[in-house]
């Protein structure tokens, strides 16, 4: 059955959500991944939205922003941003989703600027809630377009901390997060248009876990700005099931976000 790269990314994202978990949902693909997970393997998961919303049933309408009225009506709790971010800060979010313009091999994300801090060549919108989600989620899932200038050895600016960098004080990874004072978490998945990466918590490095149907490890390497490390069981990504595609297309019939 035919499907788009974004549809596959939504499926990979939904597989990061386990039943009963609290999901810090971003916009676009993660929002659809949340709806997909709810209707397939994780019917008891709850979505947190930084505008100040908790939901256990996805909005019936396709959302363009989390503040759209259909996302408020029928929510479990509609409140302030700080009340929801507080839940994130105390560790109540099992998994959080964010995207980015650049990511590096240690899962550090940049959504602030390209080039020199003082005189950037491109000014990006900035953190929003991403840096908080990266600081506090128990697990972080990153969703990105895959190309060589986006997956880099090192990003120009760390907006959202991943596993940091090795230094004289110690390696990247979980130990780096502890050194800088982050309370928990770190990237557990990097989902791109070409493949799916996990991370080695010991040294914080991305591991290619699977490459999407139609690509090869070589093609992924060509489009990746660091020398790939493969997971021991690196295989082709399991494609979307018919049921998964049916749910996605019911939610986004015109492919606003998934075409």
């Amino acid at each position: 059955m035919e499907y788009t790269p974004r549809e596959l990314m939504v499926v990979c994202a939904s597989r990061q959500i386990h039943d009963g978990e609290h999901v810090f949902v971003g916009m676009r693909l993660p929002l659809i991944a949340f709806a997909l997970a709810k209707q397939t393997h994780a019917s008891n998961c709850i979505g947190l939205f930084e505008g100040g919303i908790l939901r256990d049933v996805p909005s019936t309408e396709l959302l363009y922003t989390m503040g759209d009225a259909p996302n408020i009506a029928g929510s479990l709790w509609t409140t302030s941003t700080l009340n929801v971010m507080g839940l994130l800060a105390v560790g109540e979010a099992h998994v959080g989703f964010i995207g980015g313009a650049e990511v590096d091999r240690y899962g550090n994300l940049n959504t602030s600027l390209i080039g020199d801090w003082k005189h950037p060549s491109v000014r990006l919108p900035g953190s929003g809630g991403a840096a908080d989600i990266a600081s506090f989620s128990q697990r972080l899932a990153i969703i990105m377009q895959h190309d060589r200038h986006r997956l880099r050895e090192r990003v120009d600016f760390v907006t959202s901390p991943g596993y940091g960098y090795p230094s004289e004080e110690g390696p990247a990874g979980v130990s780096w997060r502890e050194r800088v004072g982050l309370p928990r978490g770190g990237p557990s998945a990097l989902i791109t248009t070409l493949g799916f990466f996990t991370f080695d918590p010991e040294n914080g490095e991305a591991l290619l876990q699977s490459y999407h149907p139609g690509t090869t490890v070589e093609e992924v390497q060509e489009q990746t700005g660091w020398e790939l490390r493969l997971a021991q069981d690196c295989l082709e990504t399991i494609p979307p099931s018919e049921e998964e595609l049916k749910v996605i297309r019911e939610y986004d019939p015109y492919g606003v976000w998934t075409s």
């Binding site: 939205f49 363009y64 009506a73 941003t81 700080l82 000014r123 959202s160």
Partner: protein, 304 residues
Amino acid sequence: MSKLTSMADAIAQYVRDGSSVAIGLALEPFIPFAASHEIIRQQRRNLTLIGPISDILFDQLIGAGCVDKIKAAWVGNVSEGLAHCYRRAIEQSIPHSLVTEEYSNFTIGLALLAGSLGVPYIPTRSLLGSDLPRQNPALYQQRSPLDALPLLLVPALQPDVTIIYVQRCDIDGNAHLWGSLGVCEEAMLAARNVILVAEEIVSREIILSDPNRVVGPSFKVRAVVHEPWGAHPSAVSGYYNRDHEFYHEYHTATRTTEGFKQWLDEWVINVPNRVAYVQKLGEERLLNLGVKKHLYAAPVDYGY
């Protein structure tokens, strides 16, 4: 004494050149575009804008040359992506250069909360290891005196004026707001002055019938402006939906400096006030954005 006034008078009196202005505080909905357009028409200069995310409102004020500094977590177009005027200002100093002090949604909220509680700062473990604390001079890193662990101290922000959009309020500034609140409450409490922009003006009795629904203390409100559709193209629960197409049109039209100037002339400069703006939108567009399905809250009894 009634605080009801025109938008022109409210902006003239409470938004001065150099003011720090908190606006767009509920994230995507309830954005007081009617107020920002009047700020542009009055050619206010050297403003500091404060808010979590800004869905094209900051971009318009930047492009119009009103802004010197941004204290925000995100400046862009939520459904479309990048903000062209913001990019031109930072990358090419068009119309002039701009300073960004970047926060996250949590830390900008903590800064306003600190302002609302009269505390000098609130410490958090967010953003540690990020480059934001190094880029934003307001953020301060320190080890906790309690357990020696690293902390980020987020100093209080107290905006000169906070502009809040509400569904309904009375002429004294007692207001009902429902829907996702973002940092509206904290920004209202932290502000020196508050301007309310309301979809409807209602009786004091309606507001006081539900005091838990009130957004904040009316004694902080200096001006109440009645501006139906004043949040368009953003959404107002119970009144109208977000005009996604309008954000798309803005994104497309403002790719170039000339394109932005034309857009601004058409939608702001050559539009004397919100009434004219609403007429320009046209019956059909308003009809399409209007509420199709009413969803009323269950009754509550404050009786005794």
